[in-house]
């Protein structure tokens, strides 16, 4: 049996940062990940990571916190936001001293670029591969501390004993064995759940795993209705073209060749927050000023040299997908599902309501992003809260006693899997995934209304029931059975999608990424509360609004850019 003091589920930025922090503190820590850590989707983050270093213009952590609170449409918890923004410079320096390859100013300090919704240029970057270089730096630290990685182990369930976290069950993809992993503290850092939508900037592996596991383990999921649609994703395949493009000065054009953003955000234009830009782009397309169902991202005036130096990856991604070279042609783009503001509910230390269970990164909802995340804050969140969750987990394990998970969960998981493997007919998970993708994309998109959301809720409940009743796995092999792993992923995704649709239907207001055409105003009287979703077997989640938003310095006011 595998046993460690701290087990981190997921090997992306949040997971590795947590593991390195625990290792530096001398804890016995291991990572359980369905992929090798450098394959994680954090590596696809392009634009940068925010910290008020003030290297190119006056800046303070307080300014950063204000921008973040405003960006969140005042749904973010301001104590957590302040903690994150205060810690940001220290964390960037931490990365730099461990060899992270950041772009530099002529005097050798870290370069910073402007980003959406930010009052000054505070986004540190490495060309347009910032996620990749940080991912590599953290993986290097795993190598340095010799942290054990259970690679290609798919975590399937949480074990609790007497309402205390005791470990997890994981499926070893290489030999098909389910294993019990004992841990005094478990940190979920499993990333987002973009794959509930048809078109997403997320990779195939962003499938709500930790979210689904924690949800089933009795942890509430928070604020899932707030789904970020990134304004600039490729029509062909949903792949992201970084906000760094607009940060470096790219324009958004409609079919009339007009820079339409100033109609919607007179001050910031293209650098308004993402929810604003996505709604604007979609409105242009809906009102007939699109080009083949897209608007255009125009980089031409930046010039070849700047594009090749600062945005080489997105130029190549666009070239590969569309055949168009951004150096001399505007690229057709449209809003696409990008980020889950919601997630596993945690406090500002990354702890959930179950002792010994933590969450960090996109899988978690602290909440620092509230109703809309600012670009450059997601990488920051992974680093800050990965470290914080590990720090608190390390303190927790000093006082918690030994844990002994019973074989109960292991047996239940074995039965769940064997049930799918023993059947030879029914519905395959990919079919249900397509149905879920369809209803989410059609009914829970940028602009929402009661009729469509009700349709989504009903569809998803049917899909949930069909999954529980009829799903089967075609591949019976014990070796690298990804057909089985995908079925487990879809299982978790359906739960997450139900939280999104139910939360969106119940929240009768428009705030940040939730835009209700039937309730177009923000309602601070009623809705300065978080949405908590609790799982109910085979039913819609139970919603609860007992958690109020924490305000420290900035009372909600009119939000304009």
């Amino acid at each position: 049996m595998i046993k460690h003091d701290v087990v981190v589920i997921g090997g992306g930025l949040a997971g590795m940062r947590a593991a390195v922090e625990a290792a530096e503190r001398g804890a016995d820590v291991a990572i359980v990940s369905k992929m090798h850590p450098v394959r994680s989707h954090s590596g696809a983050a392009q634009g940068g990571i925010n910290a008020a270093l003030g290297n190119t213009a006056e800046d303070t952590p307080a300014n950063h916190a204000f921008d973040t609170a405003k960006g969140s449409d005042y749904l973010g918890d301001q104590d957590a936001i302040e903690a994150m923004c205060d810690d940001a410079p220290r964390q960037i320096i931490w990365l730099e001293h461990r060899g992270c390859i950041f772009s530099r100013l002529p005097d050798g300090r870290l370069a910073q670029r402007p980003f959406g919704g930010a009052g000054s240029p505070r986004t540190c970057y490495s060309a347009d591969v910032t996620g990749l270089v940080i991912l590599h730096t953290l993986w290097e630290q795993l190598e340095r501390f010799n942290v054990k990685v259970y690679e290609e182990y798919f975590c399937t369930a949480l074990c609790t004993e007497d309402s205390v976290g005791a470990g997890v069950v994981a499926y070893n993809m290489r030999n098909g064995q389910l294993e019990l992993i004992t841990a005094k503290a478990t940190i979920f850092a499993t990333g987002g759940c973009g794959r509930m939508y048809a078109k997403t900037t997320n990779g195939y592996a962003s499938t709500a795993d930790g979210l689904g596991i924690a949800f089933r383990g009795g942890v509430p999921i928070m604020d899932m209705e707030f789904v970020q649609f990134h304004p600039t994703s490729l029509k062909e395949n949903g792949v992201l073209l970084s906000e760094a493009a607009r940060g470096e000065g790219a324009h958004l054009l409609n079919s009339l060749g007009e820079r339409f953003m100033f109609k919607y955000a007179p001050e910031k234009g293209e650098l308004a927050s993402r929810d604003v830009v996505s709604r604007a782009g979609w409105t242009e397309i809906m009102q007939g000023r699109g080009v083949d169902g897209c608007v255009l991202l125009d980089l031409r005036h930046l010039g070849r040299e700047k594009i090749l130096e600062r945005l080489p990856q997105i130029r190549e991604l666009a070239l590969d997908a569309t055949g168009k070279d951004a150096i001399d042609t505007p690229i057709p783009i449209l809003p696409g599902m990008h980020y889950t503001m919601g997630g596993i509910e945690t406090d500002k230390f990354g702890a959930t309501r179950i002792p010994g269970i933590y969450a960090a990164g996109e899988a978690a909802c602290v909440s620092v992003h509230g109703a809309n995340r600012l670009g450059g804050n997601s990488l920051l969140e992974t680093i800050v809260f990965g470290a914080r969750a590990a720090k608190h987990a390390c303190e927790y394990i000093k006082e918690s006693g030994d844990v002994r998970p019973s074989e109960r969960t292991l047996k239940a998981e074995q039965e769940r899997i064997d049930g799918w493997l023993s059947k030879n007919e029914g519905i395959r998970a990919p079919q249900l995934r397509s149905q879920m993708n369809k209803t989410m994309s059609e009914n829970v998109f940028i602009f929402r209304n009661e009729k469509e959301l009700t349709k989504a809720v009903d569809d998803l409940l049917e899909i949930r029931k069909a999954f529980d009743r009829d799903v089967y796995v075609m591949d019976k092999s014990k070796t690298f059975n990804t057909d089985l792993v995908h079925a487990m992923e879809v299982d978790f995704l359906i739960d997450a999608a139900m939280c999104v649709a139910n939360g969106a239907l119940a929240r009768k207001e428009s705030r940040g990424a939730q835009a209700r055409t039937d309730y177009p105003e923000r309602d601070d009287e009623k809705w300065m509360v978080h949405t908590l979703a609790w799982r109910q077997d085979g039913q819609n989640p139970r919603l609860d609004y007992s958690r109020k938003v924490t305000i420290t310095k900035w009372a909600p006011t009119v939000r304009s850019y």
Partner: protein
């Protein structure tokens, strides 16, 4: 939409003695990537087809495989660029790796090559609690950027003929990663790293340029040359055959305009390395008997001084 026929290598290490092939037909636009065609085949036709994938935008490095005999990222390869007139695409696992299931291979030997390098910054000053960043000029940082774009997809490792005959060779990807630290002004272990990578058979590289095909333009071959150059500039391992060979080849061509083979052999093995010379003695004898022994001294070609001028203009000051 087009009918694309994926001719796929099928194998399960737990049950199959030998692999077989399956042809799976999918209806997808020809602009679809090979990865998405595989994904469609798995979702709609045969759930047991196995391959690794994650980001589908050429940044995670998961989906490297052989497509019509050439290794590359399936997510960066449109079907129309590789299908034949009948719409067939042949898909195999990466070579130089042991297959696990279908297109999934055992990657551990590849990762071990990195671990051996101590792939993390080792600054001269180990104190890590700093108030500010280290100052690094944009030019010094830029040197690392090409190597930093590596996504560890192992395409170059799969394409490397030296790895196929000598698995102890570090391989292009790991050497390119070593270069990233060797050239990092923040790192304090340049000489130790160079010594280590020399021990890891740096000089086995045959300069065949197979690894110049890199989906991320890291150009591992050029990085290997950079590491060799740094080895000589730093004077590391100079009593080893690798650096000696490079220097003596350089010297004879610079002086005579030709490769002076006898001198190169003596220079590589070592003029006073009697044991080494004894070892190659019999071969020399056989060459002499067959009349293939090159002359011990070469007369420089006409205008050898022009060759020397070219060399001097290219020499990097050390």
């Amino acid at each position: 939409m087009a009918q694309i026929k994926l001719d796929i290598f099928r194998y399960d290490e737990a049950v199959d003695a030998v692999p077989h092939r399956d042809t799976v037909e999918v209806d997808v636009p020809v602009t679809t990537t090979v990865l998405d065609a595989l994904e469609t085949a798995k979702a709609e036709v045969d759930g047991s087809i196995s391959f690794r994938r994650s980001c589908r935008s050429a940044i995670c490095g998961s989906c490297s495989m052989n497509i019509n005999g050439v290794t590359g990222l399936a997510c960066k390869t449109p079907c129309k660029s590789v299908m034949n007139d009948q719409g067939v695409i042949q898909i195999d696992p990466m070579p130089n790796f042991q297959p696990m299931k279908d297109l999934v291979v055992h990657m551990d030997p590849f990762w071990d090559k990195y671990t051996r390098l101590k792939p993390y910054l080792q600054p001269a000053d180990r104190d890590e609690d700093h108030e500010t960043e280290r100052r690094v000029s944009p030019a010094d940082m830029k040197k690392l950027v090409d190597a930093a774009n590596c996504v560890m997809c192992a395409t170059c490792y799969a394409l490397c003929p030296v790895v196929s005959v000598d698995p102890s060779f570090a391989g292009p990807a790991a050497i390119a990663y070593a270069y990233r630290f060797i050239e990092d002004v923040r790192d304090g272990k340049k000489k130790e790293r160079l010594a280590q990578i020399n021990e890891d058979y740096l000089w086995l590289c045959a300069h065949c340029y197979a690894c110049s095909y890199c989906p991320k333009h890291v150009d591992p071959h050029d990085r290997i040359v950079d590491v060799k150059r740094a080895t000589i500039q730093e004077g590391v391992m100079m009593n080893h055959p690798g650096p000696r060979h490079a220097l003596v080849v350089n010297k004879t061509i610079k002086n005579t305009g030709m490769l002076a083979e006898t001198e190169v052999i003596l220079g590589t093995v070592g003029r006073f390395n009697f044991r080494g010379l004894l070892k190659i003695g019999p071969q020399g004898l056989r060459m002499a008997i067959k009349g293939k022994m090159p002359p011990p001294f070469l007369k420089p070609i006409p205008k050898a001084d022009e060759v020397r001028t070219i060399f001097e203009s290219l020499e990097v000051p050390t």
